[in-house]
């Protein structure tokens, strides 16, 4: 029995122990926690428990015990979160790199109780970003439920919703309204309260004024907090670009306190469209333009902007001021204004990846809506994929887009689609020719100038299909293709086939290419346009000629490739063409000073085409004005003196036979003045009886012989008597019948022309004295049979144009026939292809004895007399008188002898 009692007792004790154990076990958690908590907080409730981290940061380890216990985590053990801490070995200092790092580490424990799957998308994004940890928003030890946050917010709004209170004047005098309406709670941020965004405000010591320097700066500070919950990587590319530009802050679009959800945006858009979907909603602008305010609701919703609504673009409009009419000057101005807003969301660098697009933006000729539309815009990607290349490219290239090349030449990139569609390439998409381009790629051609642009594109584009082998099938075409660029004949986008029907007239055949801007490059790099204006031919003197009649060697079958050193060489050949028919004129021209000048390489010197034109060949002779103008193009100075003449007076009066340049100087055989014998041309126009008329007073009695007039006509230029200027005796150095040129003299002496000048004028006083001339002539005569040809001319050749009326002409012989006549001396030495070299000549040269053998054929009575003969005359008279006188004297003194002899005889 006792044993049973003991057993029962033992079992009872065991049971009790079990129960106690059970109890103890059941409370052990509490005990252990209490023990742990009391252990942790025993130390961590001490305020002065700092820890200096290796980074130098000071980390407070203090925890407000009461606050912690009140938090929703107050019932948890510290090590639930601080899993890294092992009470057995704590408080051995933990190795903590930085506060942030530690917080992040501890925040990992949050996910044990709040698994990621159960979190909102915003939370998921935040975690994905990994930049901020849970505790940064929810707090670390004093974690509060959402309700608490709202309560705090309500606390904030107790003050901030009072209208009068809520103004703050910033240091820069800006007024900052602190007023927040209570409708904040209705916004999507209403639930999280104020401190999520205004995280720097400590409710414990608020409303101590916060230091705010400017509104903008403050806004930027707050805006950074948006990114805490809406990290960058979760934002759309538009938002990213938008933030990258750093021009706007989030609430620029989304508002500050009353942040709207997409659903709300849509509601507002609905509200706008309630009116704007009415078709008859016109607005008449001050410019008189009618602007429709109608928007197709359905179309708009389909667009990429359908989701965001009206306000994104039309930012100036809100319901508080709308529908008060907005002042819009013109549709274009408004469009430009709204379009400039596109860059807010579509920053330039984001939309400039496509070079063509970047160029379009840069040019500013066209604005966004021109291409992307107003309210019906589509997602570019969608739009791009859907379009054909021709449509896609033409979206921009239908517009006038000017590309300025480095040479400053401008190229219009506009393509006329209608031309393209008429062309033989109408079936081709743009990229068939413009290789390297696609809907995604838009390389930029970097040619220096238009020429390089066209040549390179012709080669790279056309010849990729139209190969050399293909071109060689038609030798003419192949020859042309070597000198001309494809597009010059075939056009750019209006590419046309130039296949000629058999029997086509020759001129038409040639004009097929030559009506275009073809050029020919000379070996020296000069470029000659070989474009022919058919109209010019048709109005020319050659309108009835075939091309090949001038262009010998060319035909429907033949197009030889010719190479010329320079344009002047080409023009020489051109003269050969003229020579085929105009032999007389050509021969005359070849003898002219103009031809010599051309030969000498004077680029300005006239040849056939310079006066008569290339294809607009004109008959100059029947048209006095043309006759006049063709010369004065170059002879400006002569024109001025001609204008003072009586000839010009009648020309101006429109008299058809009025003499112009070529009447005196010849049209083709324009010779140097000193060999031209221009007097003969005066006679041609003037009265055929001109000699008789002159002979009335100009004769040598006893007979009135016209030959005496010829004497003067041959040695005096008409203008000497028929103009008022100063006269001169002109001596020209001649080799037999032709003038000896300075170039020839240079050869004879083996010296440079400049040396010849100093050889002649050896005292270098600018005047040729008689000794200088005779010495020069002496040396020259040793080398060649030369002489000086004399003529009475005008001192200044240009004065010769100023012909005066007949009444005013000189008739006084003594004007010239006097030793004291005001006639100067001039020596002229001709130059090849240039006006002659003129030297002032001492007049006394003509009176020197040596002028007799040197100027054999020229003598002006009295004026060019040999002075030494006058002395001889005096001596002879004296000698005669002296002989007689002397004889008389001798006879007188011998008179006594004679007398004596007579007397002796007697």
């Amino acid at each position: 029995m006792k044993l049973n009692k003991f057993l029962y007792f033992l079992i009872g004790i065991c049971f009790l122990t079990f129960l106690i154990s059970l109890y103890l076990f059941s409370v052990s958690e509490k005990i252990s926690f209490a023990k742990s908590e009391s252990n942790c907080l025993r130390c961590h409730s001490i305020k002065r428990l700092p820890k200096v981290l290796p980074s130098g940061e000071e980390m407070s380890l203090y925890i407000n015990k009461e606050d912690f216990m009140e938090s929703i985590h107050g019932s948890f053990s510290c090590t639930d979160c601080h899993k890294d801490i092992k009470p057995a070995i704590h408080p051995r200092p933990e190795k903590i790199g930085s506060k942030k790092e530690y917080i992040k580490k501890v925040s990992q424990s949050c996910l044990d109780c709040h698994p990621q799957d159960g979190l909102s998308p915003i939370h998921k994004n935040i975690l994905k970003e990994g930049k901020i940890s849970c505790s940064e928003c929810h707090g670390s030890h004093y974690i509060k439920p959402m309700v608490e946050l709202k309560k705090i917010a309500e606390g904030c709004l107790e003050c901030h919703s009072v209208k009068g209170f809520s103004t703050k004047i910033l240091p820069n005098k800006e007024i900052m309204y602190l007023y927040v309406e209570k409708r904040f709670f209705n916004s999507i941020h209403g639930r999280i309260g104020c401190l999520f965004c205004h995280n720097y405000i400590d409710p414990a010591n608020h409303p101590i004024p916060t230091q705010i320097s400017t509104k903008q700066e403050y806004a930027k500070g707050i805006f950074k907090n948006c990114l805490n919950c809406h990290p960058l990587n979760t934002l759309s590319s538009i938002h990213k670009g938008f933030l990258k530009e750093d021009r706007m802050v989030c609430f620029g679009c989304h508002g500050s306190h009353y942040i709207k959800s997409r659903a709300e945006w849509k509601k507002e858009t609905e509200k706008c469209l309630r009116c704007h979907s009415i078709k008859r909603l016109p607005k008449v602008l001050p410019s008189g333009e009618e602007m429709s305010l109608y928007i197709n609701k359905e179309d708009f919703y389909k667009t990429v902007h359908g989701d965001v609504g009206c306000w994104v673009c039309h930012q100036g409009i809100n319901f508080s001021n709308h529908p008060r009419p907005m002042r819009i000057e013109s549709k274009r101005a408004y469009t430009e204004k709204i379009s400039s807003g596109c860059f807010r969301c579509h920053p330039k660098d984001a939309i400039s990846k496509h070079k063509g697009h970047a160029k379009v933006i840069e040019l500013k000729n066209i604005i966004c809506v021109d291409c992307h539309g107003y309210h019906k815009n589509q997602a570019v990607r969608e739009w791009r994929e859907r379009l054909r290349y021709q449509e896609y490219c033409m979206y921009c290239h239908k517009l006038d887009m000017i590309k300025t090349l480095p040479s400053q030449e401008k190229i219009n990139l506009k393509v006329d689609l209608s031309q393209l569609q008429k062309s033989v390439h109408k079936q081709f998409e743009c990229i068939v020719c413009h290789k390297g381009f696609s809907k995604r790629e838009h390389p930029s051609y970097n040619f220096k100038n238009k020429k390089e642009y066209t040549i390179n594109l012709s080669k790279s584009i056309c010849q990729s299909c139209h190969t050399e082998e293909e071109l060689k099938k038609n030798p003419t075409h192949y020859a042309v293709s070597k000198t001309a660029i494809c597009i010059e004949c075939h056009g750019y986008h209006n590419v046309k086939s130039l296949k000629m029907a058999k029997g086509v007239p020759e001129n038409k055949y040639c004009m097929n290419c030559h009506s275009m801007s073809l050029v020919k490059k000379m070996e020296n790099g000069e470029v000659l346009s070989v474009k022919v204006d058919e109209k010019q031919i048709l109005t020319s003197a050659h309108k009835d000629l075939k091309c090949s009649q001038c262009h010998i060697g060319f035909s429907l079958q033949m197009h030889p490739i010719r190479s010329f050193k320079s344009i002047s060489e080409y023009r020489e050949k051109a003269q050969e063409m003229c020579n085929q028919c105009h032999k007389k004129e050509s021969t005359e021209y070849n003898a002219s000073i103009h031809a010599m000048a051309v030969l000498k390489g004077n680029k300005d010197a006239p040849d056939c085409v310079k006066c008569h034109g290339y294809h607009n060949v004109t008959k100059i002779t029947p048209n006095p004005i043309l006759k006049y103008e063709v010369c004065i193009r170059c002879h400006e100075k002569e024109k001025e003196s001609y204008k003072e003449s009586i000839h010009y007076k009648v020309f101006e009066e429109g008299v058809k036979i009025a003499p112009v340049c070529s009447n005196c100087h010849n049209a083709h055989k324009v010779l140097p003045i000193n060999i031209a014998e221009l007097n003969n041309n005066c006679i041609i126009c003037h009265d055929k009886n001109i000699k008789k008329i002159h002979n009335k007073w100009l004769y040598n009695p006893p007979f009135k012989l016209e030959s005496f007039v010829d004497v003067h006509f041959g040695s005096v230029s008409c203008e000497v008597c028929h103009t008022k200027g100063e006269k001169a005796i002109r001596l020209v150095l001649m080799l037999e019948k032709a003038p000896l040129t300075i170039e020839e003299i240079s050869k004879l002496f083996n010296k440079q022309p400049i040396e010849i000048k100093s050889m002649l004028d050896y005292n270098e006083d600018g005047i040729i004295q008689k000794d200088e001339l005779w010495k020069f002539m002496g040396s020259l005569k040793e080398k060649a049979k030369i002489r000086l040809k004399g003529k009475l001319v005008m001192e200044n050749s240009n004065e010769a144009h100023k012909i005066i009326s007949k009444k005013e002409a000189i008739k006084d012989c003594a004007i010239c026939h006097s030793p004291k006549a005001l006639v100067k001396g001039r020596l002229e030495i001709n130059r090849l292809g240039e006006k002659s070299e003129k030297f002032e000549l001492e007049r006394a040269t003509l009176n020197s004895f040596k002028s007799i053998p040197n100027i054999k054929d020229f003598y002006v009575l009295s004026l060019s007399k040999i002075n030494i003969l006058d002395t001889l005359f005096i001596l002879a008279v004296i000698a005669g008188v002296a002989a007689a006188g002397g004889h008389i004297f001798l006879r007188i003194i011998t008179l006594p002898i004679r007398r004596k002899r007579r007397e002796d005889k007697k």
Binding site: D710, K856, S862, I866, H887, R901
Partner: protein, 214 residues
């Protein structure tokens, strides 16, 4: 005193016309050359007179020419006896000696003019040269200068207008001097006016005891 009919009428006419023309030509020639120094007349007038006179002289030359060649007197009077050169030279020297010396000491003039032998050797040479070479040359060069185009062939023959002018002026100088000497020598008759009167009347008076010539 015997009278010799030395100068037939054509000769006298020719002589005086010639003399007047010579004077006019010399003076107008001087005026043409010295238009700036002498103001006897205008250049144009001088030229006109010179040209007219020149042609008169030319016409006058033909009187002489026709007379002397038609009568063949030229060969007797003007042509020196070149077939007797030594004798002629001696005579010429004798004549020169007379003018240079004999005349001073009262020697008789070695030459006695007759209608067939009018000139002494010096006169013969001088007048032959003048009449056959110098006057024709002066006339021809004058013609070239009068109208160089018309007489361009002559100009070419003579070697250009400058040479033509040179010849013409040189002869002008010569004739200027000659006419002075000629005038002086004309005073060397038996009286100073004897030769002048002879050239007017045609009769040269020769004193029987004196023999002089001009």
């Amino acid at each position: 005193m015997k009278k010799i009919y030395l100068h037939p009428i054509p000769v006298r006419i020719w002589h005086w016309i010639n003399a007047i023309c010579f004077l006019i030509l010399i003076i107008t020639g001087l005026q043409i050359r010295w238009v700036d120094k002498i103001g006897l007349m205008s250049f144009k007038t001088a030229v006109k007179i010179h040209s007219w006179t020149g042609f008169i002289l030319l016409a006058n030359y033909f009187i002489w020419f026709i007379y002397y060649f038609a009568t063949l007197k030229f060969f007797k009077i003007y042509l020196p006896p070149f077939w007797k050169p030594i004798e002629f030279t001696k005579k010429a020297f004798r004549q020169a000696k007379y003018y240079g010396f004999g005349i001073m000491i009262g020697d008789k003039n070695p030459h006695h003019p007759t209608p067939e032998n009018k000139f002494n050797p010096l006169q013969q040479v001088a007048y032959l040269t003048i009449m056959v070479i110098l006057i024709p040359l002066q006339i021809l060069t004058g013609l070239v200068l009068w109208d160089p185009v018309k007489f361009s062939f002559l100009e070419k023959i003579l070697g250009g207008i400058q040479i033509v002018s040179l010849i013409h002026v040189a002869l002008w100088i010569f004739f200027s001097a000659f006419i002075i000497v000629h005038f002086y020598l004309a005073t060397l008759g038996h009286t100073p006016l004897a030769h002048f009167i002879a050239m007017i009347t045609g009769y040269e008076e020769e004193p029987e005891e004196h023999e002089e010539t001009h």
